[in-house]
Symmetry: C2
Subunit: 416 residues, 2 copies
Amino acid sequence: MALIVHKYGGTSMGSVERIKNVAKRVAKWHKAGHKMVVVPSAMSGETNRLLGLARDLKADPDPRELDMIASTGEQVSVGLLAIALHAEGLEAVSYAGWQVPIRTDSAFTKARISEIDGERVLKELDAGKVVVITGFQGVDPEGHIATLGRGGSDTSAVAIAAALEADECLIYTDVDGVYTTDPRVVEEARRLDRVTFEEMLEMASLGSKVLQIRSVEFAGKYQVKTRVLSSLTDPLMPLADEMHSGTLITFEEDENMEKAVISGIAFQRDEARIAVMGVPDKPGVAYQILGPVADANIDIDMIIQNQSVNGKTDFTFTVGRGDYQRALEILNNQVKGHVQAETVLGDPKVSKVSVVGVGMRSHVGIASTMFRTLSEEGINIQMISTSEIKISVLIDEKYTELAVRALHKAFELDRG
Amino acid sequence: MALIVHKYGGTSMGSVERIKNVAKRVAKWHKAGHKMVVVPSAMSGETNRLLGLARDLKADPDPRELDMIASTGEQVSVGLLAIALHAEGLEAVSYAGWQVPIRTDSAFTKARISEIDGERVLKELDAGKVVVITGFQGVDPEGHIATLGRGGSDTSAVAIAAALEADECLIYTDVDGVYTTDPRVVEEARRLDRVTFEEMLEMASLGSKVLQIRSVEFAGKYQVKTRVLSSLTDPLMPLADEMHSGTLITFEEDENMEKAVISGIAFQRDEARIAVMGVPDKPGVAYQILGPVADANIDIDMIIQNQSVNGKTDFTFTVGRGDYQRALEILNNQVKGHVQAETVLGDPKVSKVSVVGVGMRSHVGIASTMFRTLSEEGINIQMISTSEIKISVLIDEKYTELAVRALHKAFELDRG
């Protein structure tokens, strides 16, 4: 008998019929002898409807009050799901985040979980009940409701699984797992049976938006076995099949498994590249260039500084395409003269393509295979950035699909 | 500077425009120097929508889960109203019942308030904030959300006013006060400037459904000056006018006021009369007759037992018309033989008409005026029941309007 956490997204909770299906699925797991905790999102559309009302009253509503309003969507969901579970003949009880309690900081609309007290939930589980807990929210040190921001229910589910030392956290969603790359770009993309949380972290931050990145961080930090799987399957499918479907995110590298060197090809369109050229290389110059951009709330992604030549150096970095014009203006008006740069250049149409895999650590030649493959396709590499388990390159956006397909094939990801 | 509690019903909160009007009205009071607490209901229709979803999942949903769901309507309202108050340039903060906390028992869907801790709210008021508190709900000893049942926001507002020792509790609603009788029946019905809480209690329980009866009980028990007034007036009307509009429910009889003997004529249609005739008069017989009816969850209203003659007596009582057939069946099948009654009779088409007034205590002749008036109209009295401040009679339903009009005139209620 295991302790299992299920998380269901807003689409899975979107109607009375779908809520009944969720209840049937949970009942199946419970009847197989597992202790069940379920974390449902708000019914799809509900949170947007409520926040829309708030914005009709005031253009910039107070975040603390927004959280008071937005948190109700999940509260309705847990009550409804508990009732649907009763209709399946189970004992079930719902809890709001503050009732567990799930403690957070006071950063309303983007709070972080600080602590979860699992005692009350464990007591209910021991009494044979299914416990349904609101995702997306907790309670701050002053007793105010604080939400975790969009996608926060993933994080709630993993954090609850960690606090309860659950055997597995199953994230039911409208895709059936994590793929070697986007199946809309590469037809041969394969679903991965497992990825490590580090790979998932790189995949998530690089644009494979299956899971909210903070939930992956939590899974890694607290070593929570997390599985991403489809909520669109028959809720009464055999448990043995369901238990091995989707993609398992593991916190350990499986020694017995014939591990592919590369797990996937991630990519991020809508990037823009900016270069500040011929800057006298003095201590503090990086901050002088990037500080004003960051102060304008512009996210900076890749950053490269060349070896200086004759005391001068070049800074190149990427921003989201929507921030490109604003970043250029800041650099030209506030930074260029100040740091005595020769010129500021940019390209608003670039993509980032990355190969990701923990196998990279023990294999040589990954970078050269990547660069050769792109070269053979005639794709110019504009920037390179590497971490322990990924290599990212910046290329002209029009070559994105070509690059992803070529790399997918070169690393034999279609072969499994 | 006074401490004032405002309560707004679901219609007043029914749209973004109406919420803005509520905020304008509250802002006017706040700017006049008053400390303001506001208790809004859920947006009209919202609670029904949510409970409908629950009933689609299960015919008899768990009350504890219903409260989890239903309480969110008010939580949305407090957040929205706080934001609307911010838009008016005020500092405002919302609180859910559990955050105050408003403590209740565990009778989910019909809980009773046991205690309100006003410390946190008073601190916010001292800091110059408007405090917006969810009506209709509180938290039980185990930390579960419990709602007070329909109309519970009136009770919340009065109870909060009592806990904070507020100077006045203003209940804004879609009528502009308490009338001498229903204006739809008697054109000359007048709005009362004030009624005592005891009169209001009799009026409310007798069918003048302006305020939830428990809120009136609270107002009396804790001596809360409560005013019922219209939310349909211009929110920016002069404060001096608004402060004296509507009907004030006082806990004291005003000595200086030329008090009418009778305050109003209340009536309740849809009653049914049942008589159990010729019952041997033994100890316990009342319970043997009424027990099985009450056990079937049928509310019994007026009860009369005649003086016994030759060791036999008659029991007469009234029930709601919807329960008439069921009550008759119970009496004929379970009770009649058991208590050896001679016969069970009934009339499903009767009304109760009552004259109510604290002045009755010190005036004689009220009953005779009432009976003479009805007699002059040719209306037969089927039952009579009296309390210290009211006299109720049961009559054939078809005479309801005639009786109410005649009594309204006989007691000169049209003259003020």
